[in-house]
Amino acid sequence: MSILVDKNTKLLIQGVGRDGSFQALRMMEYGTNIVSAVHPGREGSKFENKIPYFSSVSKAINETGANTGIIFVPAPFAKDAIIEQIDSNLELVVCITEGVPIHDMIEIKNYLQTKTTRLLGPNCPGIITPKSKTKVGIIPGNIVSPGNIGVVSRSGTLTYEAISQLAQYGYGQSTCIGIGGDPINGTSFVDALKLFQEDEETEAVVLIGEIGGNKEQEAATFIQNYMSKPVIANIAGQTAPEGKRMGHAGAIVTGESGLASAKNISLKNAGAHVVESSAYIGKKVKEVLS
């Protein structure tokens, strides 16, 4: 077992430009079963002489039985691609694209409430399950290995950092999932923790948060109430000066909860094992599991 993706994943890739095609090759090399590609104007031809192109997601699904989608289209077109994939009732849609306007995400989140599809991202590195050699996203395949640690993170590159530290201490991963760094996104920490808690192969979870928002506090509440598995948590941005993006009115919305210190306290109180320095995540896992 694993979460969200496994050997049954039949992937559709939408947006096969420079980054999309490069990453499609990495996914195929890793072992992911990519069954179709959607890219305007290429219907009839094949990606790498192997994967048929279609002009629309619904056609691609009808012809190839894809059950999962990944999106690499540029930000101005990401909303439309996400909606197209949601409307086609894919089980999981992973949007890698960064820079999706927040008003687009507001619409998408409200639309999702009436649908059954799970969205991961946008602005995320996707998901990888080492045991079944299935990667839907851009997490480098050579840094992961099969094992029993679940990894969930808001930050793409910090996810890699955590995985590579796990490797140093001999820990493999059940599934690694990057939920994305945008303030509004498809899958939350809580969603991922719920799945890891239910997953038989996951023994412990590494959670990597960031300053800003209060998603880590929501995770803490879930950990306190529902998690029996150990959670090792790290919050990036302990020393960062206060962000300015949302201005003063924004600060009122979240209050003090955006600070690293507030998140650390919540997580500690909830029983998570908090590691302050991002350099010692692997070490902490070792400590907790020994």
């Binding site: 507001i106 996810t159 950092e161 320095s277």
Partner: protein, 390 residues
Amino acid sequence: MNLHEYQSKELFSHYNIPIPVGFLATTIEQVKNYVDKLNNNAVIKAQIHSGGRGKAGGVKLVSSIDESESFTKSILGKFLITPQTGSKGIKVNKLLVEEATSIDREIYFSIVIDNNDYAPMIICSTEGGMDIEEVSRTMPEKIIKTVCSPILGVSNYKIRKICEELNIPKSLIPNFTEIVNSLYKLFIEKDCILVEINPLVITKEQKVIALDAKINIDDDALFRQKSLKDIEDKSQLEKLEIEANRNDLSYVKLEGGRVGCMVNGAGLAMATMDITKWAGAQPANFLDIGGSATVEKIESAFKIIVSDKDVEVILVNLFAGIARSDVVANGIINAAKETESKIPLVISMRGTNSEEGLKLLNNSNLDITTATDLENAANILKQKLSQGDI
């Protein structure tokens, strides 16, 4: 992207949100002319991207041409320092000259994005004209939060409740309702992440007027807000920030540091900052190259970092996912050669194509120390600091 007060008010005007009569001035002559037009009863406001202008001396009520002249001389073309600007302050190039308003009541009103409910949220308070964070801390019961619906907009019953809580006089409710609806429309149509009026005043003549205006547009949406993108006042940004923006890089200057940092991803950037500080060093800046990166983009990133005179060592922390290490390596090598930079580099490079990248770096003859991971990078930094290398 921030709009100036005068730009925000122009937008308000398009949406029929009442603002005081006012004129934008860039010279003393213009200011004097406008103050005359306004019967020597005007407010002059410095147009800079910062709050707290009033306390910092950037806003002045004048009642004569002479008064306006001496104030303008004291501020136009000068740097205004507020609690939000940093020690250098921001240059005042433009002044807004407005008719003075006789204020009966001051209300705070803003729309922001509520990330928890995935919806716009209206925040308002009877305590207008004050620092709203201060109000939030000391009188939280005075802050009224109203979550809107992306499907329905602002329902009328919510506006009725707001009116009740703000104690809006009955005769002004239709007027106030229209202003709320217009602001919401503006917020949605212009991809705002903040629209703030502090204060929204009720005048002695019983009119509702937006006395101040602050609008912040989602940078990610500027591709479809071309008219707003075009009016961005670049003079309010640091030169290097402009350069970074132009190349789609995220650059933050930090005061008092010596380490120039090039990273990919905000999370790794923050972790790198944490590590650097704990190693005893201070970052001079942060340059996040983001996800996808071309050689040209990396070259430009490197040039921006070495243009910062505070930088004595460059820390590159790359964990490539969608980015490619070989591309980043080539960008750094090209730019280092072109700029003839002698600044030493500490580079941790992992992930996609990292072997190729490290090979390129090691063969480049640049002053590079490669680190195996975050901890190692921090230790190398610490060592260099203790050895007085930097």
